[in-house]
């Protein structure tokens, strides 16, 4: 026989004794430590090499002086004395290096690739933030949004050249109005809170048109989103809280008792931040209308009821829809969100400009110049152009690819998944509103029952070690140590089961007082951060330690 005498003799791995020394580099195999770019870069490296400044353009050729200089005047101040080229920077040119780190191109690529591996997102794993709807973002949306006819258009192009883009806005508007059972929609608001402001400004305009501008109170239940009172205050209203009932819903009796001639309206989040549907919505709306006010609904949680409930049937006058939650593209895909606002018949005359209208087969933009003919009551304009075209394209793609039946299934599955988590864990964690009936699209737990000294944040940090982004913590405020989990409909049962097992394990450790949980995360690139020190002594700018080293020598 012939033997390959390389010295390699394949064997089974030996058992790990556990005594593994830390690596010299700090790297953990494929997980690489990465320093700040300021620490690895220097002033002598660069990935891009520019040619030296253009050759001397000396006085000898007379190019240094402005041609219109009067005879006998001083040379142009930006001309260097020796005529080494003409600078156009005047006295703004740099006098000292600015200390930007330089790296070669492969070093630069590695730096950002390594950093990107420390990131976590929905394309990597389950992201159960409550009230944020981190659902899968279908790639079809992205493909459509990148079509040149949508991505390369300019908002100031003649409308004849962007009929397709305007039709997308118009068709999406039709879907939103139909799904909500409302009368009209303002497409331009850029995100949820911007939409809230749009709705409240329309309510204010409607009240002023009726001569009832003296109504200065907006009622906001405790179970509403935190942006609601902020919006009302920003629009010049005084905010009054309405308490929640023990089961986590609006105290309808307290709300009705507070109604009167000074109340402009109410802002209600439905489904609310406790993850519950406000069953009394119709009764509340009728009471508010009878008292002369308007009803604003925070529709950020519309994804739990889309295709099942039409807010228009509940007497709502205005509601924003987060395209970037309900119709995928979570967090605006890291870019802009979009918060169209649907209006009732009563508020439609006051909706903002501009909007798209189909006039005899031609899509036109109704703006200030043309609104006077049939939309003179508009409260004005909130944005320079039409809104977030990229988000419109993605949302309409999502809607058309799901269809009406698909959208209905989306909300059913979102609610089913949340209830699966709620009922799987309510034997381990306290679910304060568990007895209130099925939840909507998010499950809410409290920190009741944890060992002394343990809090929700310890569970959240433990979940990082388990490979999950933590859920929303300490919100809503009505629940102590709240944990708000929103699984969305795009997670499989296997993914939910794995998360449930992880959360149960971490929660049991918190209940048992496992001290190792207080120092979690242990497997993340960084352990638990000292937020107090970071706030008391923030280090906002990287400083070169070299001068210190020199001083020490």
């Amino acid at each position: 026989m012939s033997i390959n005498q390389s010295g390699w003799r394949p064997t089974s791995p030996e058992a790990n004794t556990g005594n593994v020394p830390a690596s010299v580099t700090g790297n953990k195999a494929l997980m690489l430590e990465e320093a700040l770019i300021f620490e690895i870069g220097d002033a002598h490296s660069t990935g891009v090499d520019f040619a030296a400044p253009s050759p001397p353009r000396g006085e000898g050729r007379g190019e240094g002086k402005p041609s219109n200089a009067a005879p006998g005047t001083a040379p142009h101040p930006t001309l260097s004395p020796k005529g080494r080229g003409l600078s156009r920077l005047g006295n703004l040119s740099r006098t000292a290096p600015i200390g930007l780190p330089g790296l070669s191109e492969p070093e630069t690529v590695r730096h950002y690739t390594r950093l990107s591996r420390q990131n976590y997102g929905i394309d990597l794993g389950f992201f159960p933030l409550g009230s944020c709807t981190m659902k899968h973002n279908p790639r079809l949306n992205e493909k459509m949004a990148r079509l040149p006819g949508f991505s390369d258009v300019h908002p100031l192009q003649p409308v004849d050249t962007v009929q397709g883009a305007l039709e997308v806005i118009h068709q999406l508007a039709h879907w939103l109005v139909t799904l909500t059972g409302m009368t009209s929609v303002a497409m331009s608001p850029k995100a949820g809170a911007h939409g809230e402001l749009c709705g409240i400004l329309a309510i204010r305009a409607a009240l002023e048109a009726k001569g009832e501008g003296a109504r200065k109170i907006i009622l906001v239940p405790e179970s509403a989103h935190g942006t609601n009172p902020a919006t009302a205050a920003f629009a010049g209203y005084s905010v009054e809280d309405i308490p929640a009932t023990a089961e986590g819903r609006v105290d309808t009796a307290a709300l009705k008792a507070r109604l009167g001639p000074d109340v402009a309206g109410v802002m209600i989040t439905n489904p609310n931040t406790c993850g519950l549907f406000e069953r009394d919505m119709r009764e509340i709306s009728d009471a508010v209308h009878a008292a002369g006010g308007f009803v604003y609904c925070d529709g950020a949680n519309f994804n739990a009821i889309v295709g099942r409930v039409r807010p228009g049937d509940l007497g709502i006058d205005a509601m924003h829809i987060n395209l970037h939650k309900t119709f995928s593209t979570p967090h605006g895909g890291g870019g802009p969100g979009s918060g169209p606002v649907v209006f009732s018949e009563a508020l439609t005359p006051y909706a903002p400009l501009p909007f798209v209208e189909n006039q005899d087969g031609q899509f036109v933009l109704v703006e200030e110049e043309t609104a006077g003919e049939h939309h003179a009551g508009s409260f004005g304009r909130m944005v320079a152009f039409h809104g977030q075209m990229g988000m419109f394209t993605r949302a309409l793609t999502y809607i058309l690819s799901h269809g009406a039946d698909g959208l209905r299934q989306v909300s059913e599955d979102a609610v089913l998944n949340a209830n699966y988590i709620l009922r799987s864990l309510d034997d381990t964690l306290d679910a304060p509103f568990g007895p209130s009936g099925p939840c909507m699209h998010e499950a809410l737990f409290s920190d009741s029952g944890l060992a002394a000294g343990f809090s929700t944040i310890d569970i959240a940090k433990g979940l990082i070690d388990e490979g999950f982004h933590p859920m929303t913590m300490y919100f809503p405020l009505v629940v102590h140590g709240a944990m708000l989990v929103e699984p969305t409909e795009t997670e499989s049962k296997a993914a939910l089961d794995q998360f449930i097992a992880a959360l149960r394990s971490v929660a049991e450790r918190a209940k048992a007082g496992d001290p190792s949980l207080k120092t979690a995360p242990h497997f993340a690139p960084r352990a638990r951060l000292d937020e107090t020190l970071a706030a008391r002594k923030p280090v906002l700018v990287w400083k070169d330690p070299a001068p210190l080293a020199q001083a020490a020598e």
Partner: protein, 123 residues
């Protein structure tokens, strides 16, 4: 010298017509580590319930209301350098400001130490 408490967790020590104001031990325990305190400047006139100071923890920024009306004599400069005094000694060295009371009768509506302890117990 007597100490009074508000339902918003401020305390005021009154010595003659001079009041020293801070936030309660319970309040600091709820805030967590305090990272910044903004105290009023001398000469500022406050009405009972006015926003007088700001205390910021990692968790949130909170307004501190004046428990009584009066004119500010001084803010506690020590808090500017070391806001952790609010955590370590909320009801003594971590005081926020001193003021000259303009209406001592307002004290009647405040709680004494026992009443405040009972109030906190019920929260």
């Amino acid at each position: 010298m007597s100490r009074y408490f508000t339902q918003d967790h401020e305390w005021v020590d009154v010595d003659g017509d001079i009041g020293t104001v801070g936030i309660s031990e319970y309040a600091q325990s709820q805030l967590g580590d305090v990272v910044f305190v903004d105290v009023p400047e001398a000469g500022k006139t406050l009405s009972k319930g006015d926003e007088a100071a700001v205390v910021e923890s990692v968790k949130a920024a909170s307004d501190v209301y004046s428990p009584v009306s009066g004119t500010v004599n001084e803010g506690n400069a020590a808090l500017t350098d070391d806001s952790s005094l609010v955590n370590s000694d909320a009801e003594a060295a971590g005081w926020f400001f001193k003021l000259t009371l303009s209406d001592p009768s307002e004290l009647d509506s405040l709680m004494d130490e026992a009443a405040y302890a009972a109030f906190v117990e019920g929260l």
